[in-house]
Symmetry: C2
Subunit: 429 residues, 2 copies
């Protein structure tokens, strides 16, 4: 048997603790699969005195994570987080010192992934990140190694468990975004500062990685529409139900014309479709892989077990010397993303207007939509409330998003319209 793979772990939170636990509990089995032992030789974390599920007293302890790059380890596992700072310093130093890197850090990779892939490649080292997107679902490996024969047309994912938990619970309990978010925070399902999750930023990071793997461009956060779930109201969720849909925060990347469209948006997804039925804290990814057909992957997106599972799989690949370039292609071929023209983003849209219930309001809205060449498939107005606000809901035919946006801008200026109009794309499941 080959010499043990020596592992250094920076960060012993949920994920790092889970990795230690799995390596400890299943050491013999994993050594068999890896054809060598997987030995944790050094760790670093914020609090040395903290009680941990796995005994770390006999593992070298570094106060500063950056020191792990100078340890005897063959591979450094970065679980610090943050798109720059200590995490980036550690990864750069580890690669410079000839150590493989495994990371769960989507923010960092979305910003620096292509450059770091180049550094790793130059040294013949692995840079692996299965845990960075969709938790335990092996979607990074699937896009990098499996769904490659025919090219990918689109990747669409529910990539943030916090958002999906909140949306699922808003539907089930008919409560507002703020109420459900507060509960999720109390339960530990949402961070004290939930901005990165509910604002779509975390999904954006993950989508940038999946798009890079699928389309061969460098990860790109600039050419991406990012909208969060903060403005989704109970009313929208109730209307969605009425039409047989659910609202999900989707990351969508697809070939459109000569470019790639990337967007993070709440979307209406049909109940009974694979994406529409993804509940609670689960993640899922749907891939249209051309002649290979559609694929659907579902699993837990976060938490100790799923994320540790992804990190351990990366470690075993490294132990076996079985690793591809980080994004599936040589780093120098990761070209800048060519954005799709805005006109290429088309969909049917759900529109909700809160309007004063006075004569002429529908005519005015319909007029602006007609002017922007947006045609309406169905319309719903429930109840009457003369002189007071009521909601009007419309579903459009498939139409460019820019056309709808243009119409909404005009409609928003009307003194009969109360508050900003809501626009949510309808996705096929």
């Amino acid at each position: 048997m080959t010499a043990p793979l020596r592992i250094a772990i920076a960060g012993l939170g949920t994920v790092g603790g889970g990795v230690l636990k799995a390596l400890h509990a299943r050491g013999a089995e994993l050594a068999e699969r890896a054809e060598r032992r997987l030995d944790v030789v050094a760790v670093s974390a914020r609090d040395r005195t903290k009680e941990r599920a796995t005994d770390v007293s006999r593992i070298a302890w570094e106060e500063e994570a950056a020191r792990l790059a100078h340890s005897e380890a063959d591979v450094v596992v970065e679980l610090i987080g943050g798109e720059s700072g200590p995490a980036l310093e550690l990864i750069e130093a580890a690669l410079a010192n000839g150590k493989h890197v495994v990371t769960a850090n989507k923010a960092l990779l979305a910003h620096h992934g292509a450059r770091l892939a180049g550094l790793a490649e130059k040294k013949g080292l692995a840079l692996k990140f299965e845990a960075a997107a969709a938790g335990g679902i092996p979607i990074v490996k699937a896009l990098r190694e499996s769904l490659i024969a025919h090219g990918v047309n689109s990747v669409r994912g529910i990539l943030n468990g916090t958002c999906n938990f909140i949306l699922t619970n808003m539907e089930k309990t008919e409560r507002s975004f703020v109420e459900v978010l507060t509960e999720a925070q109390a339960l530990g399902y949402a961070e004290a500062d939930p901005t990165l999750d509910v604002g779509g930023g975390d999904t954006a990071h993950k989508l940038a990685l999946l798009a890079s793997l699928a389309f061969g461009n460098a990860p790109d956060l600039d050419n991406m529409l990012v909208e969060g779930i903060e403005n989704i109201s109970s009313a929208d969720i109730a209307y969605a139900q009425e039409f047989g849909y659910r609202i999900k925060l989707l990351g969508v990347a697809r070939r459109a014309g000569d470019g790639i469209e990337q967007r993070v948006q709440p979307a209406m997804v049909r109940v009974g479709s694979p994406l529409g039925d993804v509940d609670g804290a689960f993640n899922a990814v749907a891939v249209d892989a051309g002649a290979a057909g559609p694929f659907f992957f579902e699993g837990r997106g976060a938490g100790e077990g799923p994320t540790a599972s992804a990190v351990v799989a990366d470690l075993v690949d490294i132990a076996l010397g079985s690793f591809e370039p980080a994004f599936g292609k040589p780093a120098h071929t990761l070209v800048p993303l060519v954005p799709a023209s805005p006109e290429a983003t088309t969909s049917a849209y759900y529109l909700r207007f809160d309007v004063l219930d006075i004569p002429g309001v529908v005519a005015e809205i319909a007029g602006h939509l007609a002017e922007a060449r947006v045609s309406i498939e169905s319309m719903l107005q429930r109840g009457r409330n003369p002189g007071e606000p009521v909601s009007i809901v419309m579903i459009t035919h498939e139409t460019p998003q820019v056309a709808v946006a243009r119409a909404l801008k005009a409609i928003a200026t009307s003194d009969k319209v109360v508050g900003p109009p809501r626009m949510i794309p309808m996705e096929t499941g």
Copy 2:
């Protein structure tokens, strides 16, 4: 760039043709991912004069597939089929001559996989078979390389597109098994001799491979209950619908007690659950990966595009030198499967009895069930037909399959019971 990977393909049917087409259409992109060209240098097929989608006139042609083992190829792709004969001879000779092997041949691997894995390993060669189970779904790679940290508790799959097409169409059109099978044969979705598909044998082969990858035993067809869909009646499908279920042919392998349970059986799966909603020719696999949680994978199970996608992915791994032992563990560790005790197979069961509508029949059936300690959760008898046959349907509580079988054997001897009782397990989706 490294020298091209030289490929020999035995069998140019649907899959082989698809592989040629993909390598031809996407050669440059695949060469980038593989870091070398993928060149087909030799082929063999039954009919040299046949019109083909890809020009093979400049590729060396061998009348006998076995000759490919002596070609200049680095890797032989076996797409002949059959559990022994020319396919086995070719694979053995290829490995003996230092050539990697890619195969889609589940029957052959289910019978000889562990031994062939040993031959490959001794020579440091790849034996890869992503296309052998669930078509384009990268489930072989996922079980071999990704879901390994915590161990697998169960693998359950819809693994035969023909069966799923037939069952889906029986439900949609309310026609009999024979009618739908005949139509499927006319459409090319079922073979002229459909036994291997509808009898469950094909699912058994695939299940043996997935179980081996999941549990680390040698593929084992002996310790497996195999039941096909030939006896599923329109009545069973209608009752399933009534209870909110669909009937699917499932391959199930799971840890039970100290052993592994393997069974291929039609099962009731809840409508709205992931497995219950797998339609038509799709395949799907649900994996319970312990602390990593449940996973669900869905995609096309057969056909040119999906299967070629799996073969090409294997070829790129080989081109990169990135391959694990065939079943994820060294061949000598693939121990014989320890079968679970029959008592460990428990489920709730759907039971249907066709009985003469005469007094005392329910009491007699209930008596036999009580004697075998099978308790009934619900019962359904629709309509009356004094003196003539009617159906009685029962759903049991969770109970050992052997207990139910014992009761049914006793019930079948009654002169009030017409035809054999039907027993179908209820699976959680």
